[in-house]
Protein backbone atom coordinates (compact mmCIF):
# COMPACT_ATOMS: atom_id res chain seq x y z
CA UNK A 1 0.00 0.00 0.00
CA UNK A 2 2.77 2.36 1.05
CA UNK A 3 4.84 1.64 -2.02
CA UNK A 4 1.87 2.22 -4.27
CA UNK A 5 1.15 5.47 -2.55
CA UNK A 6 4.73 6.71 -2.65
CA UNK A 7 4.96 5.89 -6.34
CA UNK A 8 1.85 7.91 -6.90
CA UNK A 9 3.30 10.73 -4.80
CA UNK A 10 6.56 10.62 -6.69
CA UNK A 11 4.70 10.82 -9.95
CA UNK A 12 2.88 13.90 -8.74
CA UNK A 13 6.12 15.59 -7.69
CA UNK A 14 7.81 14.71 -10.95
CA UNK A 15 4.96 16.03 -13.01
CA UNK A 16 4.87 19.20 -10.91
CA UNK A 17 8.62 19.76 -11.29
CA UNK A 18 8.95 19.05 -14.96
CA UNK A 19 7.40 21.81 -16.97
CA UNK A 20 8.92 20.37 -20.14
CA UNK A 21 6.31 17.76 -21.02
CA UNK A 22 3.46 20.12 -21.73
CA UNK A 23 5.68 22.21 -24.00
CA UNK A 24 6.83 19.02 -25.73
CA UNK A 25 3.24 17.87 -26.06
CA UNK A 26 2.25 21.14 -27.65
CA UNK A 27 5.12 20.55 -30.10
CA UNK A 28 3.91 17.04 -30.99
CA UNK A 29 0.21 17.87 -30.75
CA UNK A 30 -0.03 21.51 -31.92
CA UNK A 31 -3.46 22.90 -31.06
CA UNK A 32 -3.57 25.27 -34.07
CA UNK A 33 -2.72 22.59 -36.68
CA UNK A 34 -4.83 19.72 -38.06
CA UNK A 35 -4.94 16.60 -35.91
CA UNK A 36 -2.92 13.97 -37.81
CA UNK A 37 -3.87 10.38 -37.05
CA UNK A 38 -3.19 7.06 -38.79
CA UNK A 39 -5.17 3.96 -39.70
CA UNK A 40 -5.31 1.31 -42.36
CA UNK A 41 -8.24 1.79 -44.71
CA UNK A 42 -10.52 -0.93 -45.97
CA UNK A 43 -11.72 -2.20 -42.59
CA UNK A 44 -15.44 -1.57 -43.08
CA UNK A 45 -17.39 -0.07 -41.46
CA UNK A 46 -14.66 1.34 -39.27
CA UNK A 47 -12.66 3.14 -41.93
CA UNK A 48 -13.29 3.06 -45.65
CA UNK A 49 -12.47 5.39 -48.50
CA UNK A 50 -15.71 6.99 -49.61
CA UNK A 51 -16.47 9.56 -52.26
CA UNK A 52 -15.59 12.40 -49.91
CA UNK A 53 -12.57 10.87 -48.18
CA UNK A 54 -12.52 8.74 -45.04
CA UNK A 55 -15.87 7.35 -43.94
CA UNK A 56 -17.02 4.99 -41.22
CA UNK A 57 -17.46 4.60 -37.50
CA UNK A 58 -13.78 5.34 -36.84
CA UNK A 59 -13.81 8.38 -39.15
CA UNK A 60 -16.92 9.92 -37.54
CA UNK A 61 -15.52 9.25 -34.09
CA UNK A 62 -12.11 10.85 -34.64
CA UNK A 63 -13.64 13.82 -36.47
CA UNK A 64 -15.89 14.46 -33.48
CA UNK A 65 -12.94 14.06 -31.11
CA UNK A 66 -10.86 16.49 -33.18
CA UNK A 67 -13.67 19.01 -33.04
CA UNK A 68 -14.08 18.72 -29.28
CA UNK A 69 -10.31 18.99 -28.78
CA UNK A 70 -10.52 22.30 -30.59
CA UNK A 71 -8.22 21.24 -33.43
CA UNK A 72 -8.94 23.08 -36.72
CA UNK A 73 -9.40 19.82 -38.70
CA UNK A 74 -8.56 16.13 -38.73
CA UNK A 75 -6.23 14.50 -41.23
CA UNK A 76 -6.59 10.71 -41.39
CA UNK A 77 -3.50 9.15 -42.97
CA UNK A 78 -3.84 5.79 -44.74
CA UNK A 79 -1.04 3.51 -43.54
CA UNK A 80 -0.89 -0.26 -44.02
CA UNK A 81 -1.23 -1.96 -40.67
CA UNK A 82 2.34 -3.26 -40.79
CA UNK A 83 3.63 0.32 -41.13
CA UNK A 84 1.41 1.85 -38.49
CA UNK A 85 3.65 1.51 -35.41
CA UNK A 86 6.80 2.67 -37.21
CA UNK A 87 4.79 5.73 -38.34
CA UNK A 88 3.62 6.38 -34.79
CA UNK A 89 7.14 6.15 -33.33
CA UNK A 90 8.56 8.31 -36.13
CA UNK A 91 5.94 10.99 -35.24
CA UNK A 92 4.31 10.82 -38.67
CA UNK A 93 1.02 10.58 -36.82
CA UNK A 94 -0.10 11.74 -33.36
CA UNK A 95 -1.85 8.50 -32.47
CA UNK A 96 -3.50 5.49 -34.10
CA UNK A 97 -7.24 5.40 -34.79
CA UNK A 98 -7.60 1.96 -36.38
CA UNK A 99 -9.46 -0.86 -34.64
CA UNK A 100 -6.40 -1.74 -32.55
CA UNK A 101 -6.49 -4.39 -29.84
CA UNK A 102 -5.18 -3.44 -26.44
CA UNK A 103 -2.59 -6.09 -25.56
CA UNK A 104 0.02 -6.45 -22.81
CA UNK A 105 2.84 -6.75 -25.35
CA UNK A 106 1.86 -3.54 -27.13
CA UNK A 107 1.26 -1.73 -23.85
CA UNK A 108 4.95 -2.28 -23.06
CA UNK A 109 5.83 0.18 -25.82
CA UNK A 110 2.87 2.50 -26.23
CA UNK A 111 0.16 4.18 -24.23
CA UNK A 112 -3.39 3.05 -24.78
CA UNK A 113 -6.56 5.02 -24.31
CA UNK A 114 -9.31 3.40 -22.30
CA UNK A 115 -11.21 0.62 -24.14
CA UNK A 116 -13.47 1.97 -26.90
CA UNK A 117 -15.10 -1.07 -28.39
CA UNK A 118 -15.51 -4.77 -27.51
CA UNK A 119 -14.23 -7.38 -29.92
CA UNK A 120 -12.94 -10.93 -30.38
CA UNK A 121 -12.06 -13.32 -33.21
CA UNK A 122 -14.65 -13.61 -35.95
CA UNK A 123 -14.28 -16.42 -38.49
CA UNK A 124 -15.40 -15.60 -42.00
CA UNK A 125 -16.09 -18.64 -44.21
CA UNK A 126 -17.73 -19.38 -47.55
CA UNK A 127 -21.52 -19.23 -47.51
CA UNK A 128 -21.84 -22.96 -48.17
CA UNK A 129 -19.26 -24.02 -45.55
CA UNK A 130 -19.83 -24.93 -41.88
CA UNK A 131 -17.80 -24.20 -38.79
CA UNK A 132 -18.92 -25.28 -35.33
CA UNK A 133 -15.71 -24.76 -33.42
CA UNK A 134 -11.93 -24.64 -33.59
CA UNK A 135 -11.77 -28.40 -34.27
CA UNK A 136 -13.21 -27.72 -37.73
CA UNK A 137 -10.02 -25.87 -38.66
CA UNK A 138 -7.93 -29.06 -38.70
CA UNK A 139 -5.96 -29.47 -41.92
CA UNK A 140 -7.29 -26.19 -43.32
CA UNK A 141 -5.61 -22.90 -44.27
CA UNK A 142 -6.53 -19.74 -42.35
CA UNK A 143 -6.03 -16.23 -43.76
CA UNK A 144 -5.10 -13.36 -41.45
CA UNK A 145 -4.11 -9.73 -41.79
CA UNK A 146 -0.37 -9.68 -41.10
CA UNK A 147 0.61 -8.57 -37.62
CA UNK A 148 -2.91 -8.16 -36.29
CA UNK A 149 -4.16 -9.81 -33.15
CA UNK A 150 -5.77 -12.47 -35.34
CA UNK A 151 -2.28 -13.21 -36.67
CA UNK A 152 -1.04 -13.59 -33.09
CA UNK A 153 -3.93 -15.88 -32.22
CA UNK A 154 -3.54 -17.97 -35.38
CA UNK A 155 0.23 -18.26 -34.92
CA UNK A 156 -0.20 -19.39 -31.32
CA UNK A 157 -2.94 -21.91 -32.11
CA UNK A 158 -1.86 -23.27 -35.51
CA UNK A 159 -0.23 -26.33 -34.03
CA UNK A 160 -2.91 -26.98 -31.43
CA UNK A 161 -5.76 -27.08 -33.94
CA UNK A 162 -3.65 -28.22 -36.89
CA UNK A 163 -4.18 -25.43 -39.42
CA UNK A 164 -1.85 -23.48 -41.71
CA UNK A 165 -1.59 -19.65 -41.49
CA UNK A 166 -1.52 -17.40 -44.57
CA UNK A 167 -0.62 -13.78 -43.88
CA UNK A 168 -1.87 -10.93 -46.10
CA UNK A 169 -1.38 -7.16 -46.05
CA UNK A 170 -5.03 -6.15 -45.86
CA UNK A 171 -8.36 -7.53 -44.67
CA UNK A 172 -9.95 -7.52 -48.17
CA UNK A 173 -7.09 -9.76 -49.36
CA UNK A 174 -7.92 -12.31 -46.65
CA UNK A 175 -11.56 -12.25 -47.77
CA UNK A 176 -10.42 -12.81 -51.36
CA UNK A 177 -8.38 -15.77 -50.14
CA UNK A 178 -11.57 -17.34 -48.74
CA UNK A 179 -13.66 -16.60 -51.83
CA UNK A 180 -11.00 -18.06 -54.13
CA UNK A 181 -10.73 -21.19 -51.92
CA UNK A 182 -7.15 -20.45 -50.95
CA UNK A 183 -8.17 -20.39 -47.31
CA UNK A 184 -11.03 -22.01 -45.39
CA UNK A 185 -11.54 -19.06 -43.06
CA UNK A 186 -10.43 -15.45 -42.68
CA UNK A 187 -10.03 -14.33 -39.08
CA UNK A 188 -10.53 -10.73 -38.08
CA UNK A 189 -12.26 -8.62 -35.47
CA UNK A 190 -15.90 -9.58 -34.88
CA UNK A 191 -17.33 -6.18 -35.92
CA UNK A 192 -15.28 -6.25 -39.11
CA UNK A 193 -16.27 -9.75 -40.24
CA UNK A 194 -19.92 -9.20 -39.28
CA UNK A 195 -20.07 -6.18 -41.51
CA UNK A 196 -18.19 -7.85 -44.39
CA UNK A 197 -20.58 -10.82 -44.29
CA UNK A 198 -23.58 -8.49 -44.40
CA UNK A 199 -22.27 -6.96 -47.62
CA UNK A 200 -21.14 -10.06 -49.53
CA UNK A 201 -23.37 -13.05 -50.19
CA UNK A 202 -20.45 -15.35 -50.98
CA UNK A 203 -19.34 -15.38 -47.36
CA UNK A 204 -20.78 -15.66 -43.86
CA UNK A 205 -19.62 -15.52 -40.26
CA UNK A 206 -18.97 -19.13 -39.32
CA UNK A 207 -17.98 -18.60 -35.71
CA UNK A 208 -17.61 -15.81 -33.15
CA UNK A 209 -15.22 -15.93 -30.24
CA UNK A 210 -15.87 -12.97 -27.92
CA UNK A 211 -12.91 -13.15 -25.57
CA UNK A 212 -12.92 -9.91 -23.60
CA UNK A 213 -10.64 -8.02 -25.95
CA UNK A 214 -11.14 -4.31 -26.67
CA UNK A 215 -10.02 -1.71 -29.17
CA UNK A 216 -8.24 1.45 -28.06
CA UNK A 217 -6.22 4.32 -29.51
CA UNK A 218 -2.42 4.02 -29.14
CA UNK A 219 -0.12 6.95 -28.31
CA UNK A 220 3.64 7.30 -27.97
CA UNK A 221 4.83 6.78 -24.41
CA UNK A 222 5.76 10.44 -24.00
CA UNK A 223 2.29 11.62 -25.06
CA UNK A 224 0.73 10.79 -21.68
CA UNK A 225 -0.72 14.22 -21.13
CA UNK A 226 -2.31 14.35 -24.56
CA UNK A 227 -3.61 10.78 -24.19
CA UNK A 228 -5.46 11.93 -21.08
CA UNK A 229 -6.87 14.91 -22.92
CA UNK A 230 -8.19 12.74 -25.76
CA UNK A 231 -9.51 10.21 -23.29
CA UNK A 232 -11.50 12.86 -21.45
CA UNK A 233 -13.22 13.65 -24.76
CA UNK A 234 -13.91 9.94 -25.38
CA UNK A 235 -15.52 9.66 -21.95
CA UNK A 236 -17.85 12.54 -22.78
CA UNK A 237 -18.77 10.87 -26.08
CA UNK A 238 -19.67 7.73 -24.14
CA UNK A 239 -21.67 9.68 -21.53
CA UNK A 240 -23.69 11.78 -23.96
CA UNK A 241 -24.58 8.79 -26.16
CA UNK A 242 -22.61 9.89 -29.24
CA UNK A 243 -20.72 6.57 -29.37
CA UNK A 244 -23.97 4.59 -29.14
CA UNK A 245 -25.47 6.60 -31.96
CA UNK A 246 -22.41 6.05 -34.13
CA UNK A 247 -22.64 2.33 -33.48
CA UNK A 248 -26.26 2.31 -34.55
CA UNK A 249 -25.45 4.34 -37.63
CA UNK A 250 -22.59 2.15 -38.87
CA UNK A 251 -23.31 -1.30 -37.48
CA UNK A 252 -27.06 -1.08 -37.80
CA UNK A 253 -27.74 -2.14 -34.21
CA UNK A 254 -27.39 -0.99 -30.62
CA UNK A 255 -24.07 -1.94 -29.00
CA UNK A 256 -23.84 -4.85 -26.58
CA UNK A 257 -25.12 -3.75 -23.12
CA UNK A 258 -22.33 -2.88 -20.69
CA UNK A 259 -19.53 -3.30 -23.22
CA UNK A 260 -16.62 -0.88 -23.63
CA UNK A 261 -18.54 1.42 -25.94
CA UNK A 262 -20.71 2.77 -23.14
CA UNK A 263 -18.52 2.15 -20.13
CA UNK A 264 -16.51 5.04 -18.70
CA UNK A 265 -13.42 3.60 -17.00
CA UNK A 266 -11.91 5.06 -13.85
CA UNK A 267 -8.55 6.71 -14.43
CA UNK A 268 -6.71 7.15 -17.71
CA UNK A 269 -5.67 4.34 -20.03
CA UNK A 270 -6.68 0.69 -20.18
CA UNK A 271 -7.19 -0.85 -16.73
CA UNK A 272 -4.92 -3.83 -16.14
CA UNK A 273 -2.34 -2.76 -18.71
CA UNK A 274 0.93 -0.87 -18.46
CA UNK A 275 0.42 2.88 -18.88
CA UNK A 276 -2.81 2.91 -16.87
CA UNK A 277 -3.06 5.89 -14.49
CA UNK A 278 -5.53 5.07 -11.73
CA UNK A 279 -6.13 8.78 -10.96
CA UNK A 280 -9.89 9.20 -10.60
CA UNK A 281 -11.29 12.19 -12.44
CA UNK A 282 -14.62 13.57 -13.52
CA UNK A 283 -14.76 14.30 -17.23
CA UNK A 284 -15.72 17.91 -17.89
CA UNK A 285 -18.23 17.60 -20.67
CA UNK A 286 -19.67 20.57 -22.46
Amino acid sequence: MFSKFSRFGAALIVSALVVGPSVAQEADHPSDKPLVVGTDFGVAPWMIRGASGAEGFGADLINEIGKRLGRPSVEIVDINFSGLFPALFAKKIEFTVNPLNITAERAERMLFSEPLFATGNGFLIKANAEMKGFEDLKGKAIAVNRGTISDTWATANAEKYGFEVQRYDTFPDTVQAVITNRAFAAINEIPTVTYAASRNKAIKVGYNDFNGRNFGYAFRNESGEYRNKVEAVIECLKLDGTMRKLHEKWYGSAPQEGSAIDTVYIGYGAPGFKGFEPTPHVPECK
Partner: protein, 225 residues
Protein backbone atom coordinates in the same frame (compact mmCIF):
# COMPACT_ATOMS: atom_id res chain seq x y z
CA UNK B 1 19.31 8.77 -30.80
CA UNK B 2 18.09 6.71 -27.86
CA UNK B 3 14.70 6.54 -29.48
CA UNK B 4 16.27 5.28 -32.69
CA UNK B 5 18.12 2.55 -30.80
CA UNK B 6 15.04 1.62 -28.77
CA UNK B 7 12.87 1.38 -31.89
CA UNK B 8 15.26 0.01 -34.49
CA UNK B 9 18.06 -1.79 -32.61
CA UNK B 10 16.24 -3.21 -29.63
CA UNK B 11 18.37 -6.22 -28.65
CA UNK B 12 15.56 -8.12 -26.94
CA UNK B 13 13.17 -7.69 -29.86
CA UNK B 14 15.90 -8.53 -32.38
CA UNK B 15 16.66 -11.78 -30.56
CA UNK B 16 12.98 -12.67 -30.43
CA UNK B 17 12.46 -11.96 -34.13
CA UNK B 18 15.64 -13.63 -35.39
CA UNK B 19 14.41 -17.20 -35.99
CA UNK B 20 11.29 -16.05 -37.85
CA UNK B 21 13.07 -13.50 -40.02
CA UNK B 22 15.79 -16.08 -40.74
CA UNK B 23 13.13 -18.52 -41.99
CA UNK B 24 11.79 -15.73 -44.15
CA UNK B 25 15.27 -15.03 -45.44
CA UNK B 26 15.55 -18.62 -46.71
CA UNK B 27 12.40 -18.02 -48.76
CA UNK B 28 13.77 -14.70 -50.04
CA UNK B 29 16.99 -16.31 -51.27
CA UNK B 30 15.20 -19.25 -52.92
CA UNK B 31 12.67 -17.02 -54.69
CA UNK B 32 15.32 -14.49 -55.83
CA UNK B 33 17.60 -17.13 -57.30
CA UNK B 34 14.73 -18.89 -59.05
CA UNK B 35 13.51 -15.58 -60.47
CA UNK B 36 16.95 -14.92 -61.93
CA UNK B 37 17.26 -18.42 -63.42
CA UNK B 38 13.70 -18.51 -64.80
CA UNK B 39 13.77 -14.90 -66.04
CA UNK B 40 17.11 -15.00 -67.81
CA UNK B 41 16.69 -18.43 -69.40
CA UNK B 42 13.19 -17.71 -70.64
CA UNK B 43 14.34 -14.30 -71.87
CA UNK B 44 17.11 -15.99 -73.87
CA UNK B 45 14.63 -18.47 -75.35
CA UNK B 46 12.39 -15.57 -76.43
CA UNK B 47 15.32 -13.73 -78.02
CA UNK B 48 16.35 -16.87 -79.94
CA UNK B 49 12.77 -17.39 -81.14
CA UNK B 50 12.73 -13.81 -82.30
CA UNK B 51 15.92 -14.26 -84.34
CA UNK B 52 14.10 -16.93 -86.34
CA UNK B 53 11.94 -14.15 -87.66
CA UNK B 54 8.51 -15.83 -87.83
CA UNK B 55 5.98 -13.01 -88.04
CA UNK B 56 3.23 -14.49 -85.86
CA UNK B 57 5.65 -15.58 -83.14
CA UNK B 58 7.39 -12.23 -83.20
CA UNK B 59 4.11 -10.39 -82.75
CA UNK B 60 3.37 -12.51 -79.68
CA UNK B 61 6.83 -11.97 -78.25
CA UNK B 62 6.67 -8.21 -78.74
CA UNK B 63 3.24 -8.10 -77.06
CA UNK B 64 4.50 -10.23 -74.16
CA UNK B 65 7.60 -8.10 -73.70
CA UNK B 66 5.68 -4.84 -73.79
CA UNK B 67 3.00 -6.02 -71.38
CA UNK B 68 5.43 -7.28 -68.76
CA UNK B 69 7.73 -4.29 -69.12
CA UNK B 70 4.78 -1.97 -68.57
CA UNK B 71 2.88 -3.60 -65.69
CA UNK B 72 4.06 -2.88 -62.15
CA UNK B 73 5.43 -6.07 -60.59
CA UNK B 74 2.92 -5.94 -57.75
CA UNK B 75 0.02 -5.91 -60.22
CA UNK B 76 1.36 -9.03 -61.95
CA UNK B 77 1.72 -10.82 -58.60
CA UNK B 78 -1.76 -9.90 -57.36
CA UNK B 79 -3.32 -10.80 -60.69
CA UNK B 80 -1.76 -14.25 -60.82
CA UNK B 81 -2.65 -14.95 -57.21
CA UNK B 82 -6.16 -13.54 -56.89
CA UNK B 83 -7.56 -13.55 -60.42
CA UNK B 84 -6.37 -16.87 -61.85
CA UNK B 85 -8.24 -18.97 -59.25
CA UNK B 86 -11.45 -17.88 -60.99
CA UNK B 87 -10.33 -19.96 -63.97
CA UNK B 88 -9.25 -22.76 -61.63
CA UNK B 89 -5.54 -22.02 -61.64
CA UNK B 90 -4.40 -22.04 -58.02
CA UNK B 91 -0.72 -21.28 -57.62
CA UNK B 92 1.03 -21.11 -54.25
CA UNK B 93 2.44 -17.76 -53.04
CA UNK B 94 5.92 -19.13 -53.79
CA UNK B 95 5.14 -20.17 -57.36
CA UNK B 96 3.16 -16.99 -57.94
CA UNK B 97 6.06 -14.74 -56.96
CA UNK B 98 8.64 -16.72 -58.95
CA UNK B 99 6.43 -16.76 -62.06
CA UNK B 100 5.40 -13.10 -61.84
CA UNK B 101 8.89 -11.71 -61.27
CA UNK B 102 10.37 -14.29 -63.64
CA UNK B 103 7.98 -13.12 -66.37
CA UNK B 104 8.92 -9.48 -65.81
CA UNK B 105 12.63 -10.27 -65.82
CA UNK B 106 12.26 -12.45 -68.95
CA UNK B 107 10.62 -9.54 -70.78
CA UNK B 108 13.54 -7.24 -70.01
CA UNK B 109 16.12 -9.98 -70.57
CA UNK B 110 14.74 -10.92 -73.99
CA UNK B 111 14.86 -7.27 -75.01
CA UNK B 112 18.45 -6.97 -73.80
CA UNK B 113 19.55 -10.17 -75.59
CA UNK B 114 17.70 -9.09 -78.71
CA UNK B 115 19.36 -5.69 -78.88
CA UNK B 116 22.76 -7.29 -78.19
CA UNK B 117 22.19 -9.68 -81.10
CA UNK B 118 21.12 -6.79 -83.31
CA UNK B 119 24.19 -4.79 -82.31
CA UNK B 120 26.51 -7.33 -83.93
CA UNK B 121 27.44 -6.50 -87.52
CA UNK B 122 25.16 -8.14 -90.06
CA UNK B 123 28.30 -9.16 -91.97
CA UNK B 124 29.01 -11.89 -89.44
CA UNK B 125 25.92 -13.79 -90.54
CA UNK B 126 26.92 -13.42 -94.19
CA UNK B 127 30.50 -14.46 -93.52
CA UNK B 128 29.36 -17.54 -91.57
CA UNK B 129 26.96 -18.49 -94.31
CA UNK B 130 29.72 -18.07 -96.93
CA UNK B 131 31.80 -20.50 -94.88
CA UNK B 132 28.96 -23.02 -95.02
CA UNK B 133 27.67 -22.52 -91.43
CA UNK B 134 23.97 -23.29 -91.01
CA UNK B 135 21.56 -20.92 -89.21
CA UNK B 136 21.71 -22.60 -85.81
CA UNK B 137 25.43 -23.17 -85.90
CA UNK B 138 25.98 -19.49 -86.72
CA UNK B 139 23.61 -18.45 -83.97
CA UNK B 140 24.98 -20.68 -81.23
CA UNK B 141 28.69 -20.67 -81.95
CA UNK B 142 29.22 -17.19 -83.39
CA UNK B 143 26.44 -14.76 -82.58
CA UNK B 144 25.25 -15.74 -79.10
CA UNK B 145 28.66 -15.95 -77.39
CA UNK B 146 29.31 -12.35 -78.39
CA UNK B 147 25.77 -11.15 -77.74
CA UNK B 148 25.67 -12.65 -74.24
CA UNK B 149 28.90 -10.86 -73.44
CA UNK B 150 27.44 -7.56 -74.60
CA UNK B 151 24.29 -8.21 -72.63
CA UNK B 152 25.89 -9.05 -69.29
CA UNK B 153 26.23 -5.60 -67.67
CA UNK B 154 22.63 -4.64 -68.47
CA UNK B 155 21.39 -8.06 -67.51
CA UNK B 156 23.00 -8.23 -64.06
CA UNK B 157 21.62 -4.83 -63.10
CA UNK B 158 18.14 -5.72 -64.23
CA UNK B 159 18.26 -9.15 -62.57
CA UNK B 160 19.21 -7.64 -59.22
CA UNK B 161 16.61 -4.90 -59.45
CA UNK B 162 13.83 -7.38 -60.20
CA UNK B 163 14.85 -10.09 -57.75
CA UNK B 164 14.66 -7.49 -54.99
CA UNK B 165 10.94 -7.44 -55.81
CA UNK B 166 10.70 -10.68 -53.83
CA UNK B 167 9.59 -8.48 -50.95
CA UNK B 168 6.41 -7.75 -52.93
CA UNK B 169 5.45 -11.39 -52.43
CA UNK B 170 4.32 -10.42 -48.92
CA UNK B 171 1.18 -9.08 -50.59
CA UNK B 172 0.15 -12.64 -51.40
CA UNK B 173 1.25 -14.09 -48.07
CA UNK B 174 4.70 -15.24 -49.18
CA UNK B 175 6.47 -15.71 -45.83
CA UNK B 176 9.69 -13.97 -46.89
CA UNK B 177 12.04 -11.89 -44.75
CA UNK B 178 10.21 -8.56 -44.92
CA UNK B 179 6.79 -10.12 -44.30
CA UNK B 180 8.01 -12.07 -41.30
CA UNK B 181 9.67 -8.93 -39.93
CA UNK B 182 6.45 -6.93 -40.36
CA UNK B 183 4.50 -9.61 -38.57
CA UNK B 184 6.75 -9.52 -35.52
CA UNK B 185 6.89 -5.72 -35.67
CA UNK B 186 3.14 -5.43 -35.29
CA UNK B 187 2.87 -8.05 -32.58
CA UNK B 188 5.53 -6.57 -30.28
CA UNK B 189 4.88 -2.97 -31.38
CA UNK B 190 8.54 -2.30 -32.15
CA UNK B 191 10.01 -1.94 -35.64
CA UNK B 192 13.44 -3.45 -34.82
CA UNK B 193 12.69 -6.62 -36.85
CA UNK B 194 12.73 -4.39 -39.95
CA UNK B 195 16.40 -3.63 -39.23
CA UNK B 196 16.98 -7.36 -39.09
CA UNK B 197 15.29 -7.83 -42.46
CA UNK B 198 17.40 -5.01 -43.91
CA UNK B 199 20.55 -6.70 -42.60
CA UNK B 200 19.51 -9.97 -44.22
CA UNK B 201 18.83 -8.29 -47.55
CA UNK B 202 22.29 -6.73 -47.40
CA UNK B 203 23.98 -10.06 -46.65
CA UNK B 204 22.32 -11.56 -49.69
CA UNK B 205 22.34 -8.72 -52.20
CA UNK B 206 25.81 -7.28 -51.51
CA UNK B 207 27.53 -10.54 -52.55
CA UNK B 208 25.18 -10.64 -55.53
CA UNK B 209 26.15 -7.10 -56.53
CA UNK B 210 29.84 -7.87 -56.03
CA UNK B 211 29.49 -11.09 -58.04
CA UNK B 212 27.78 -9.20 -60.84
CA UNK B 213 30.63 -6.70 -60.96
CA UNK B 214 33.08 -9.57 -61.18
CA UNK B 215 31.11 -11.22 -63.96
CA UNK B 216 30.91 -7.93 -65.85
CA UNK B 217 34.64 -7.48 -65.49
CA UNK B 218 35.46 -11.06 -66.38
CA UNK B 219 33.13 -11.52 -69.35
CA UNK B 220 31.81 -8.10 -70.15
CA UNK B 221 34.69 -6.83 -72.24
CA UNK B 222 36.29 -8.78 -75.01
CA UNK B 223 39.39 -10.68 -73.99
CA UNK B 224 40.79 -10.64 -77.46
CA UNK B 225 41.09 -14.20 -78.65
Amino acid sequence: MDRLIENYLNAQVLAEAFPKVLDGFGVTVAVSLLVIVVGISFGLVLAILRVMNVKVINAFIVAYVDIFRTLPQLVVIIFIYFALPYVDINLSPFTTTVLALGAVLSAFASEIFWSAIKALPRGQWDAASALGFGFFRTLFSIILPQAVRLAIPLLTNRAIAISKGTALGTAVSLPEALGQAQSVTAIVANPSPLTLAAAFYLTFFIPLVVASRWIEHRYGRGHGH
